[in-house]
Point group: C2
């Protein structure tokens, strides 16, 4: 799923993404790319193993380099979150701590509430090998954990960021869950034209001896009409259907 339209700004107000002691710079680039897919632009990096800035990150960022350009470097997690009012800590393994555990979806709603209240949310992601240490988790108000297959859980750093960012974007997205893509030239057929098609089709089916016996004809006709109705036919498609009917009724050998 790849395509880019640079004519609009990304979503504002999204949570800050904080990478705590990330190891590979390439993964920082992958994180920037994951973020920008879902409109997150503010990245903070705490004590990266390979230093910052780092060209290897840009190699993986795939046009998300503005996120890297704007990324801020910190020595400690506490410094990185000082201005935030609601901090979430992502984990894969349970900690021996008494803390609310949110799914990414619930965290997105929580972040939206923070934004609505004039606050600023951030999400901590730990290093690739072992994740956040317990002291970092204690700096956060909640734990965020994606429900995964109990028998296999192996999300990499960019994927963890992706899921949190995805849920943030879905929470604010107005797009209907299902919509009909009408393509460039398609107008829905007017009812009159549709009925004219039905009438023609049924006439031809009668001529071919299909709608029999007579006591079953009304049901057969209804079922056929309902089938075509469900397709949500366009003007062009009805014209096509007329052409199909014509081609089929034409004597063979023409």
């Amino acid at each position: 799923m790849a395509g880019t339209d640079s004519s609009r700004d990304p979503v504002l107000g999204g949570p800050v993404v904080i990478l705590v002691k990330p190891q590979l710079a390439e993964n920082i680039g992958a994180v920037a790319r994951a973020m920008l897919n879902f409109g997150l632009t503010e990245l903070r990096i705490v004590a990266p193993r390979d230093g910052w800035p780092n060209d290897n990150a840009y190699a993986m960022a795939s046009r998300a380099d503005p996120v890297l350009d704007a990324a801020r470097l910190f020595d400690t997690t506490a410094a990185a979150i000082a201005d935030l009012t609601r901090v979430h800590a992502t984990t894969a393994r349970r900690r021996d701590m008494v803390k609310p555990v949110l799914t990414p979806r619930a965290a997105a709603a929580d972040m939206a509430a923070t934004l609505a209240a004039g606050g600023r949310a951030g999400v901590l992601f730990g290093g690739e090998r072992a994740g956040l240490d317990n002291d970092d988790v204690a700096l956060a108000a909640t734990i965020v954990e994606a429900p995964t297959n109990p028998a296999f859980s192996s999300l990499n750093l960019a994927q963890a960021v992706l899921l949190v960012a995805y849920e943030w974007f879905q929470a604010g997205d107005d797009r209907p869950p299902v919509m009909l893509d009408a393509g460039r030239t398609a107008d829905a057929v007017a009812a009159g034209d549709l009925l004219r098609f039905f009438a023609r089709l049924e006439g031809e089916l009668d001529a071919g001896g299909f709608l029999k016996p007579p006591e079953k004809r009304p049901t057969m006709v209804r079922n056929i009409r309902n089938m075509f109705q469900r397709a949500g036919l366009t003007d062009q498609e009805v014209r096509t259907l007329h052409g199909i009917v014509s081609a089929l009724i034409r004597p063979r050998g023409d």
Copy 2:
């Protein structure tokens, strides 16, 4: 977010993942790993550029190799979907086609309905460079498109699979969106013990001249009690709070 417990089977009945002409074998491995995080185990591969099986896939699979072991190879998309009753095609760019477009979340609900009706669902993912061609899209009933930042959309193949698989798993997951992780030793405090703590604290605050003037005391007490209530205190924590109070009231210099 990484951790693995191999004592339970992954979710059954999930959609088949079909990769159509994938290019890099490493990406096939990454796809297998993305799938298994969310309980998807059935992978089909159509005309992979680098052939199949391919060791490079295993290098990226990170213990998801059983998915690769069981993957089936096909020459054509049509052959790969022949036994399926509901096929979805993932895309990033709009096609000039009249087709329902579903979000991954809506697609997950659609797949659950297919399963409930005794059918078999599958999802087509195109090659890394250009995605599915229009002929492949026409083999599907719907298009699945993840809502992304209008200004930047750059999901890689494994990430596209991840989002679809994630939504499938969330649709079937019973886990509450927010829960309190109580840790190993934490029982919620009994109300009597909590009230005893409140009484002690308020007594000490009175002795320190804090709950004044008298007409404001009831409100102050209520606010303090409500604050502690929201923490959902455990037994151990109340004991700790008692210790804190004791330490604070102790004359300095002890």
